[in-house]
């Protein structure tokens, strides 16, 4: 069966520090991969999605970047965190048809 791993669960970082959140999927190949951010009152904001290795689509111009170095690995990064980067980050995957999203357990990021 397919599983998605996302870590860490919580993270407290100072302003200006770098960020690396990792997500891996098991039990499937060639998944579509997604990073969302959930903030109160704003729902799930699509940040990045990827349909293959090295293929990244960015939805919102911001302080973040994403990479997909392997088929089932998706990384969210920042060189210098801002206060506004605080939020709950969710990784997700779907099959090629996009019929259903499977979400990770999320990372609560607090930038202080």
């Amino acid at each position: 069966s397919q599983t998605i791993h996302q870590w860490p669960a919580t993270l407290v970082q100072p302003v200006g520090s770098p960020l690396s959140l990792e997500c891996t999927v098991e039990g499937t190949s060639n998944p579509n991969l997604y990073w969302y951010r959930q903030a109160a009152g704003r729902g799930l904001q699509l940040l990045f999605y990827s349909v293959g290795i090295g293929q990244i689509s960015s939805e919102v111009p911001q302080n973040l970047s994403a990479s997909r170095p392997q088929d089932r690995q998706f990384i969210l990064s920042s060189k210098k965190l801002l206060l506004s980067d605080s939020g709950f980050y969710l990784c997700a995957w779907s099959g090629r048809s996009g019929e259903k999203l499977f979400f990770g357990s999320g990372t609560q990021l607090s930038v202080l």
Partner: protein
């Protein structure tokens, strides 16, 4: 570009009453449409989806949704809510051309009055 609007931020209904959560989308053609639910402390769960065919879609937990092309809507309904239905509900729109870009609405928080 696709977008989705959930006009109701918070709704409170009495247990046993009927429920309708609104969702409107903007898309050049017929999109993929989804409803997800996020219960407190839990992840997002797919309630139902519309890809094609019958515009009235049945989902899990007794929920249904109807796709109305003329109104660009995909409202979620349940005839009788239970206290366990208290949660955040998200409507989502998928890009039919790429099948990979999935946009969520801002969510509707549902509270149940005993």
């Amino acid at each position: 570009a696709q977008s989705v609007t959930q006009p109701d931020i918070h709704i409170t209904v009495s247990e046993g009453a009927s429920l309708e959560l609104r969702c409107n989308y903007s898309y050049g053609a017929t999109p993929y449409l989804f409803w997800y639910v996020q219960s407190p402390g839990q992840g997002l769960q797919l309630l139902l989806k519309y890809f094609s065919g019958d515009t009235l879609v049945q989902g899990i937990k007794g929920f249904e949704a109807e796709f109305k092309r003329s109104q660009s809507s995909f409202n979620l309904r349940k005839p009788s809510v239970h206290w366990s239905d208290a949660a955040e509900y998200f409507c989502a729109v998928g890009d039919r051309s790429s099948a990979s870009k999935i946009i969520f609405g801002s969510g509707t928080r549902l509270s149940i009055r005993p």
